[in-house]
């Protein structure tokens, strides 16, 4: 088989850097709030660090496990089945914030939708590996490929978690696209989805308010436009050099979720354009190394796996940043590796572990 060289050191390094940087920024963004709510400024960062360690262990293990072990139906279908069960199980848990995103075991909490993303990538890679350029038969190729995606997306939408559902849809679309699906399929798919999308966006009152707020934040700066305006103020005040680490003010009272979905605003405020470009740059490096692995790999399964993992990270990262910069309407999407959120961090790191294993066979 292909000769074994070391893992991609750039990919490994940039991942580690993102995790450590994320821990620092979670501390900076949440210290005041954590002290306020739980009495200790370290509450969030400690939880995040624990997940980071678990995630890094998973990364190191998966890095050493041959990715071909996952390329079999006995792995893929149980994974899809388990994810479906967990997504369903979330509906039987007590809701938090009127959503069913979580499964809690005493202190541990788990977000099944975070598992759904890598499982979806795994399934599509497995399914598409020998269908490149032959996705022509609706019934035999396209629909079976899309079926688990549609199932996951429907369950995630029901939670409701529109952001993650959109990420799943985007990753599915991109992988189908890479498999050579015709552009008109996407057009039809979009047409088919648009009534659902329209309903989701404009018939749920708070989402419609978010849309209106995005289109005109000044319309109601104290309520719906509040998040966007405060995020822009945070980014804008950062300037080139930023206010300095821990010196951000917007996180104190104005930024919503400064340690999760809006952590990039806090980074931009405290570290300025330099810090913001550093974060963007790290994702660019990660994306480059990931797609490079996909191109250079000779195994189609590995290629799809690499494309899927890389695009999952990039779509979330850039979507999150775009929300913060008010380029797109507000959606609950975390910034990979950086936002506080254990499940997301764990599965992101595990995915990168698989990706690193793929890079072992590339020089």
């Amino acid at each position: 088989m292909a000769k074994r060289v070391g893992v991609d050191k750039w990919l490994f390094g940039v991942t580690l850097l993102l995790v450590l940087f994320g821990l620092l920024m979670v501390f900076s963004a949440s210290a005041v709030m954590a002290k306020e709510r739980y009495g200790s400024p370290y509450t969030f960062v400690a939880r995040q660090a624990a997940w980071a360690i678990l995630g890094l262990i998973a990364l190191l293990v998966l890095m050493r496990v041959d990715y071909r072990k996952w390329n079999r139906p006995t792995v893929v279908f149980p994974a899809v089945g388990l994810t479906t069960l967990l997504l369903l199980a979330a509906f039987f848990m007590r809701d938090s914030h009127h959503t069913h995103r979580w499964i809690r075991f005493s202190v541990l909490s788990f977000q099944p939708s975070e598992l759904a993303k890598p499982v979806l990538v795994l399934f599509l890679a497995w399914f598409l590996q020998d269908r490149i350029g032959r996705l022509e038969d609706w019934r035999r190729d396209v629909l079976p490929a899309a079926l688990p995606s549609l199932l996951f997306i429907a369950l995630i939408l029901k939670e409701p978690d529109l952001g993650t559902a959109l990420v799943c849809a985007a990753v599915t679309a991109l992988m189908l696209y890479m498999a050579g699906a015709k552009i008109r399929y996407f057009f039809f798919a979009f047409l088919a989805a648009s009534p659902v999308l329209y309903y989701m966006l404009f018939h749920v009152a708070w989402r419609r308010a978010r849309m209106i707020a995005f289109l005109n934040p000044q319309a109601d700066p104290k309520r719906t436009g509040f998040h966007i305006l405060q995020s822009l103020i945070a980014v804008g005040t950062g300037g080139i050099r930023g206010l300095g680490l821990m010196e951000g003010r917007q996180k104190l009272f104005y930024l919503p979720e400064p340690h999760t979905d809006f952590i990039f605003a806090n980074i931009a405020e405290e570290l300025g354009l330099i810090g913001a470009l550093f974060v963007v740059g790290m994702f660019v490096v990660l994306g480059y190394r990931g797609l490079r692995a996909a191109i250079l790999s000779t195994d189609p399964f590995a290629r799809f796996l690499a494309v899927g993992i890389t695009t999952t990270v990039l779509i979330q990262a850039f979507f999150n940043i775009s929300v913060v910069l008010a380029l797109v309407p507000t959606k609950g999407i975390a910034l990979p590796f950086i936002s506080a959120g254990g499940t997301s961090l764990f599965f992101m790191l595990a995915s990168i572990g698989v990706l690193l294993n793929i890079t072992r066979e590339i020089d």
């Binding site: 005041v32 709030m33 306020e36 709510r37 139906p73 279908f77 590996q129 020998d130 490149i132 350029g133 035999r140 079976p144 991109l174 696209y177 890479m178 498999a179 050579g180 104290k222 822009l232 103020i233 980014v235 804008g236 005040t237 950062g238 300037g239 080139i240 003010r249 917007q250 104190l252 009272f253 104005y254 931009a268 300025g272 354009l273 913001a276 470009l277 963007v280 660019v284 994306g287 797609l291 996909a294 191109i295 189609p300 290629r303 494309v307 695009t311 990039l314 850039f318 940043i321 775009s322 910069l325 380029l327």
Partner: protein, 766 residues
């Protein structure tokens, strides 16, 4: 089924995988990477746009939002008098506010709160409706009531409503209440100066507010961090002297009550520096309670209101003519039996004078002589002198809304104007302009611009950098004149004027002044008020004034008294003269100015109330001067009965209709004061020498009633300290001991009747 079908497909493909596998199209990789790079490009462009080009806008918006969140008010600067006594200071009081998002039932909360804080029906800020409106208006912050009593704050916190908090705020406090209120002005609820010095120096006094971040979100409310500390305002040291101000206000209050005047002003100035030592204006208001003050009272009449000076203005006429050698004090002028025709207009003098000297003409305020002297000057020269004395222009004193006064240039004078102006008509002056003119004559002929602010300082009281300004009443005008100063008349002219003005006090219209131990010069003025509607002279309303200085040879103070529309008598000399005398007497004694005239061996008070055996009176006839002792008496502590008087006196001004009971009490208080210091009260003085003065006699019965409950002060002369204290204690008198050795001086004098418990000041020396 589907599962099996898929498996079979996979199985089939597995065999065919190698040959069938096509690479992912390169183009699609390029497009994917290109798409992501485009996205990155948009993000970077957006970041640069927001963080570089829009940076300033967002910095400002962040600051705005944080500033609006919470401002920390600065401590307003203190107003000190010249001896660093606080005239206006800042204290901490409670204010009540709400975080509306934490309140469950806003309407009910507003109703409950209003029950406690809405103490004044006229206050629309604290009504239940207003509170509720504010609670609905903001999520984060709403005032409930500001600067309330601590008891109100306690009752509110006892309600236990969630989301209601108290916070300390600075409140302006005027420890002397009404004292100098017209000069000091007042501040709004937000510490903005709205009148007087407070308004004029608002920017200096106000200081810079600090900024504080507080929670927008109710959960995070308790978190707050001081962003910038407030910068306290500068302190101002005024030229006023609290004691002289007190003397002036007390005298003015008594005069206002006696004459039923509608308004009045007493100004005391140091003629050698131009500094205003006291500026008493009535009606006064209580700056601690401005909500209940009529806006018309908040004006500073001393600089913004003009009056026709009348005969006081003859000082300008005569001094100008003497300075121009057009006349001299001894020249004899024909009074023309009280008639003169100026430009076809016949003017009657108030008395048909015959041939009299210039000095006598001033003494008796002959209009005809003044007009004749004025005519000699001619319009232009006369006008130049009037301007040189500071009339018709702002003095630049540090008070708001100063007016220039009314003075037309000569080319706009009527032919008869020169006659009118020579006797003080057709001109409008402010009390500050008039006192500055008198000071010019008093100090030897130099116009010194008046001042009321000594210095601005950031030093706090107690700092060695902020020592009380040395005040030497005997100082002369400095060689190098301060900015704005200029000579108006020669030293010689000024000296001749002072002599003439002394004769006014000794023999003329100023004979009601009645000083003991001091010489004084002055001039009375009586002007008919001009009816603002008809522009004609009123037949019933007069402005009675008296201005002058003392002592004559080395003037330490100049004083001007102006009374608006006195009832009964209206001649300046009779009505304002005694007030002038009272202020001069007490101020000079307070300032330790040496007596330049023999002290009358026994004051009328002592003669009237003392027992008949006059052997005890000998002690009072002390050859040494008593000024130090008097100063001690005047400088009594705040709890001394002397200091309580203005309170009752000022209150009495506001109910002048109550004559019998309250006025008798206040008369009693006044005579009580006088009894405590061997000095004739002007009331009784005027009464004894002017039977037709039209002034109320103090009821003798009140004096008799007082005498019954009082103690006769014995003579302590030559006693040892121990003996003196024993004697005093036995009689129920307090003692204040100065020096050591044997008793040399005492106040009040032996034989004086005083209430039990009165403090007797004893000076001991070897």
């Amino acid at each position: 089924m589907a599962l099996r079908g898929q498996q079979s497909v996979t199985g089939m493909n597995k065999k065919a995988r190698q040959p069938l596998t096509a690479p992912i199209p390169r183009l699609r990789f390029v497009l994917l990477a290109g798409g992501f790079l485009l996205w990155v490009g948009v993000i970077v462009a957006r970041l640069v746009w927001l963080q570089v080009f829009c940076n300033a806008i967002y910095v400002e918006r962040a600051a705005h939002q944080q500033e609006r969140t919470f401002q920390v008010a600065p401590r307003r600067g203190v107003l000190y008098d010249r001896n660093l006594q606080e005239l206006a200071m800042t204290v901490l009081v409670d204010s009540i506010y709400a975080v509306p998002s934490e309140i469950e039932d806003k309407e009910e909360a507003a109703r409950q709160l209003a029950k406690i804080v809405h103490t004044d029906a006229s206050d629309s800020f604290t009504s239940a409706k207003a509170i509720d409106a504010r609670l609905e208006d903001s999520r984060n912050f709403a005032w409930i009531a500001r600067k309330v009593d601590s008891s109100v704050a306690a009752r509110v916190s006892n309600l236990g409503i969630k989301g209601i908090y108290t916070q300390q705020e600075f409140k302006r406090f005027y420890p002397n209440n009404r004292l100098a209120s017209q000069v000091l002005g007042y501040v709004s609820l937000d510490d903005d100066g709205l009148g007087g010095i407070e308004h004029r120096f608002d920017t200096d006094l106000h200081g810079a507010p600090g900024r504080m971040l507080t929670a927008v979100d109710a959960r995070q409310h308790s978190f707050s961090s001081v962003e910038r500390n407030p910068q306290p305002g500068e302190n101002l040291v005024l030229t006023l002297d609290e004691h002289i101000q007190f003397i002036a206000e007390k005298a003015l209050d008594a005069a206002m009550q006696r004459t039923q005047s509608v308004g009045g002003t007493v100004v005391v100035q140091d003629p050698n520096t131009g500094q205003i030592l006291a500026l008493a204006i009535r009606p006064a208001f209580d700056p601690n309670d401005i909500r209940h003050v009529r806006p018309s009272m908040l004006r500073d009449d001393a600089v913004s209101d003009i009056y026709e000076p009348g005969s006081v203005f003859k000082l300008v006429t005569y001094s100008a003519a003497i300075n121009e050698h057009l006349t001299n004090p001894d020249e004899v002028i024909d009074g023309q039996n009280g008639k003169i025709i100026v430009a076809g207009r016949l003017i009657h003098d108030w008395h048909p004078f015959g041939a009299i000297t210039v000095t006598e003409a001033l003494e008796h305020s002959s209009d005809v002589c003044a007009i004749k002297v004025g005519l000699r000057l001619g319009p232009q020269k006369f006008y130049d002198y009037i301007r040189a004395y500071g009339f018709g222009q702002r003095s630049g004193i540090e008070l708001p809304a100063e007016t220039r006064g009314l003075l037309r240039p000569p080319d706009r004078w009527q032919p008869s104007s020169i006659g009118s102006i020579a006797m003080g008509q057709e001109v409008g002056v402010t009390p500050i302009q008039a006192i500055t003119m008198i000071s010019t004559i008093a100090n030897g002929g130099v116009y010194l611009p008046p001042h009321i602010v000594m210095e601005k300082t950031t030093e706090a009281k107690g700092s060695p950098q902020l020592l009380p300004a040395a005040f030497h009443p005997e100082d002369n005008v400095p060689e190098a004149l301060p900015p704005g100063a200029h000579r108006v008349v020669t030293t010689m002219t000024a000296a001749e004027m002072r002599k003439m003005m002394q004769d006014v006090v000794l023999f003329g219209t100023g004979k009601f002044v009645g000083l003991n131990g001091y010489s004084a010069g002055g001039k009375s003025g009586t002007a008919q008020k001009v009816n603002p509607g008809t522009h004609t002279y009123s037949k019933t309303d007069y402005i009675a004034s008296f201005g002058g200085f003392a002592p004559v040879n080395q003037p330490a103070i100049s004083v001007l008294v102006v009374l608006d529309s006195p009832r009964g008598g209206h001649h300046g000399g009779e009505v304002a003269g005694p007030v002038f005398g009272q202020v001069v007497q007490q101020t000079l004694e307070y300032l330790d100015v040496p007596h330049d005239m023999p002290i009358q061996p026994s004051s009328r008070i002592a003669r009237e109330y003392a027992p008949k055996n006059s052997d005890t009176m000998g002690d009072h006839d002390h050859p040494g001067d008593l000024r130090a002792l008097f100063a001690e008496v005047n400088d009594l502590p705040a709890d001394d009965p002397l200091r309580q008087n203005p309170q009752s006196a000022t209150e009495d001004v506001y109910k002048p209709s109550v004559v019998s009971r309250s006025s008798a009490t206040s008369e009693e208080d006044i005579s009580g004061n006088v009894a405590a210091q061997p000095m004739p009260p002007n009331t009784s003085h005027a009464q004894s020498s002017v039977p037709t003065g039209g002034e109320k006699k103090p009821a003798p019965s009140s004096v008799a009633a007082r005498a019954g409950a009082s103690v006769k002060v014995p003579s302590f002369a030559g006693q040892s300290m121990r003996k003196a204290v024993e004697t005093a204690t036995r009689l129920g008198l307090g003692v204040r001991v100065l020096g050591s050795g044997v008793e040399r001086e005492q106040a009040p004098g032996a034989g004086t009747q005083v209430p039990p418990g009165t403090e007797v000041v004893l000076r001991f020396a070897r």
